[in-house]
């Protein structure tokens, strides 16, 4: 089992290197093609042409483009993504500070989405069996057509304004200072034993995570439902029934184990959806994550920062795919080595 996971990880990593180089090239070229002068933001209005040339040379912008790419790539390999033009800080430390918040948000959103869609998928399947599908279908379609930012606004109105039970701004209450051990607020506050602050962090996470989860769940429900419908037609289900197993047991113990396989693949593919959703949701909730950072970088034409975030996005996607592959192999015995 462990060996297999290791084999998949090694294989994935080997394949990831050329993918990363290629992707970083694409990111680099696209950003260089934009009609934006990154120097404009750095130079004071009184700067002379001489000043501009000096700064250009200092930042390496006088080199030919392929050379610029190689320099950037070499530095990136060494863990240096350059300095943010606007923040005057290393890109890595900016991303490093924002990243855990976004990952935390996405994972909590995923957990909520699963808690909604596993029973939801089973319910949709049961309704399908009883030929009462239209109502369920309509509900799912309706939910699917509401984007995450609309959920965010709805949730703020309901739980923040009309019935103010949950906070909807920031990552923690203003009085709380995060210890910054792992960067994940929920973990850090838990290991330092600050339970009151921990619940503050959790309550701040709930609304943004819920709005992401609500827009993500309909997709999961659909895939799970069709996975269950496929499983229902399999002989092992009929045989289980003939062995006298209850319908409940057949659904939860037999069919779900099989239906979850296509669902995992789908979640892996759509995880990027959670991240791009997080971008908007972070803006709305003033959540200090990568999404917010990205918006600021784009606003300020902050090339190094944009590149860094784009690269990070690629790395994340590759990592998620690896995790999904390992999970899939662990859950599907047919994929294990002969």
């Amino acid at each position: 089992m462990f060996q297999l996971s290791l084999a998949i990880i090694v294989r994935r990593l080997a394949a990831a290197i050329p993918t990363l180089v290629l992707l970083s090239l694409v990111v680099f070229v696209v950003l260089r093609l934009l009609p934006v002068d990154p120097l404009a933001a750095l130079l004071p209005p009184s700067a002379t042409a001489e000043d501009a040339r000096a700064l250009r040379a200092q930042l390496g912008f006088d080199q030919p483009i392929p050379m610029q790419f190689l320099i950037w790539l070499w530095e990136a390999v060494r863990g240096n993504l350059g300095n943010s033009i606007n923040f005057h800080q290393p890109v890595t430390s900016l991303i490093g500070a924002a990243m855990p918040a976004t990952i935390e948000l996405a994972l909590v959103a995923l957990a909520i989405a699963l808690a909604i869609s596993v029973p939801g998928g089973a319910l949709a399947f049961v309704l399908h069996q009883r030929a009462r599908e239209t109502a369920a279908d309509l509900t799912v379609t309706l939910l699917q057509s509401i984007p995450s930012f609309l959920w965010a606004l709805l949730l703020i109105i309901v739980f923040g304004v009309l019935w103010p039970v949950l906070p909807f701004s920031g990552r923690v209450g203003q009085e709380v200072v995060l210890p910054g051990i792992t960067g994940f607020a929920l973990i850090d506050l838990l290991i330092t034993g600050r339970l009151r602050d921990w619940s503050s962090a959790l309550s701040h996470l709930l609304l943004p995570a819920l709005s992401l989860a609500l827009s993500f769940s309909p997709m999961v429900i659909r895939v799970l439902r069709s996975g269950l419908i496929d499983a229902a037609g399999e002989p092992y289900v009929e045989v289980a029934r003939l062995r006298g197993l209850s319908e409940t047991r057949i659904l939860w113990r037999h069919m779900l184990k099989n239906a979850v396989l296509p669902t995992i693949t789908m979640i892996g593919v759509q995880f990027g959806f959670l991240f791009s959703g997080a971008l908007l949701v972070e803006m709305i909730f003033g959540f200090p994550g990568v999404g917010n950072l990205m918006v600021q970088a784009v606003k300020g034409n902050d090339m190094p920062l944009i590149q860094g975030i784009a690269l990070l996005f690629c790395v994340l996607m590759l990592a998620i795919n690896t995790v999904v592959d390992v999970l899939y192999a662990l859950l599907n015995p047919r994929l294990r080595a002969p």
């Binding site: 009929e238 003939l242 062995r243 197993l245 037999h254 047919r334």
Partner: protein
Amino acid sequence: MMLSVTNLTLSAGEQAGAKAGAKAVAVLRDITLSVARGRVLGLVGESGAGKSMVGRLIAGHTPRGFAVTRGQVMFDGRDLLQLAAAERRKLLGRRIAFIPQEPLSSLNPVMTIGQTFDEHLMLLGVASGERAAAIVNHLAAVHLPRPEAMVRRYPHELSGGQCQRVLIAMAFASDPALLIADEPTTALDVVSQTHILALLKEQQRLHQTAVLLITHDLRLAAHVCDEIAVLYAGEQVERGAAREVLGQPCHPYTRALQAANPDVHGSQRQLPALAGQMPGISALSAIAGCRFFARCPQALAACGSEPQLLREVTTGHWVRCAPGCATNPAPVAGDDLQSAAWSAPVGDWNSPPLVELQEVTLSYTARWGAFGQRKLVSHAVNKLSLRIQPGEFVGIVGESGSGKSSIARLIVGAEAPTAGRINIAGRERIPGDATVARLSRECVQMIFQDPHSALNPRRSVYRLLTQAYELDHTAGSLARKTRPERGAELLADVGLPADALSRYPAQLSGGQKQRVNIGRALCVMPRLLVADEIVSGLDVSVQAQILNLLLELGRRANVALLLISHDLSVVRYLCSRVMVMQAGSIVEEGKTEEVFARPQHPYTQLLLRSVPPADPSIAWPPAPGQKP
């Protein structure tokens, strides 16, 4: 009686969803049968006869849109039809056990054998501490090798025969009073079929279980069962002691079924094929009289207007037929052909071979490990040589995995050999050589196994038959005729009615689809047809039609045939020469009659022993104990 079914009638269109005023159709009509403790009853019929439906009704699974309108299903003194669903479920798996048709897909693929078995024992109420040991005991009882290791394995790691053993072990774990086995060996190879049947008999005797064996194979049923009930279109046409029903069949359908089955030994005869096919559910309401009337060679005028009743012809032997027919067995349909000179096409041995394989090897390499550093090379075909003469009908027999389908793929060019030469009509086929590839396409055509999935459902019969015109209509044989001309010609060749050209596959029966499938392969006027298990999915009476069609085509068009089959009797009927394959090699080869009469290789002998003999007095299947 452990199980007795009386006057069971299942109707369609009784429930919600049927149009108001729609007539209820009896899908099962007046079924009466019974099994005593320690006895085996065979429920025999072709697909669509309703035999599996009987099994489902006993389990309480009435399909949507159907309802039992009459009759009882008494099990151990209680009427199963009157029981509440929960009460009936308590009987399933405990007192009434089932053995399914497809063992490989009947076990949950993501659970180990041990997990599935453990769940079953838990439901049976075995204490958790005792379950592990019990599983090993139950698995050992069905002669599975190394049962301790078996519990950790997944279904896909087992063969079909091994999976069926696991399912049999689970079925007998509760010491059931009644066992319902629905085509338990249909999906298995002949050799494992014999082992599984022997095992079933052994366990049945040991536990004194009442068994209902559902099968399409009359001959197999006659050997395994004490009594047989024959079903046709939802009606029981004959019932009696197994040997008597097989030895002296009284109903014209039973006789036709028996006669349409080719033999593996004895004198050769042309198979009489019943015309047409069994009526489907939608056609039943239009039939007023005997449901077999339209196909019956001995039908009387009265048979068409009123249903026949079951009558006892001799003690315990019941037949649903007009009084004159059943008691007085007239010759079976087509019996007059029995004497007609008949032989499988031998082909032209003075010409150079049509297809020649020289020392051909086909191997697959599987790689795994983090860097693909571990590999496993398996030879599907191992240094194999063979030749096929023009006009010759050759058969290849062997179990699944013996490499027989790989040979078909090599000959049609779907697969390139790893080593060795393949000559088609005297020219070597080299990968990438377009001329030879085109030549061999015109020379060799394949008939695909499953007519249901081989035909594009969105194409009409005309466009299917003449599909080759879309590929290259200037090619030699195609240029001589226009597409509509060739379409009409092919339709007549394969014996389909003239109005079939504009129909779609969904409007055809299984036999008709297979005819289209054959006609399509004939379009370019090939010299060799490669047929991979083309009759294994068909019912016996339809199978006889297709076999006779192939013989006729061979004689008329001088086309050669390579028939790949697991069914020895079909190979004997069609092929003058046979090759026996095992593990990628030909282990025995020769004239079919000689090989089957005096098999030399132990594997050929084993294969022949696995065929249920036509004579019901010969003991079969052989006793168990042999390793699976």
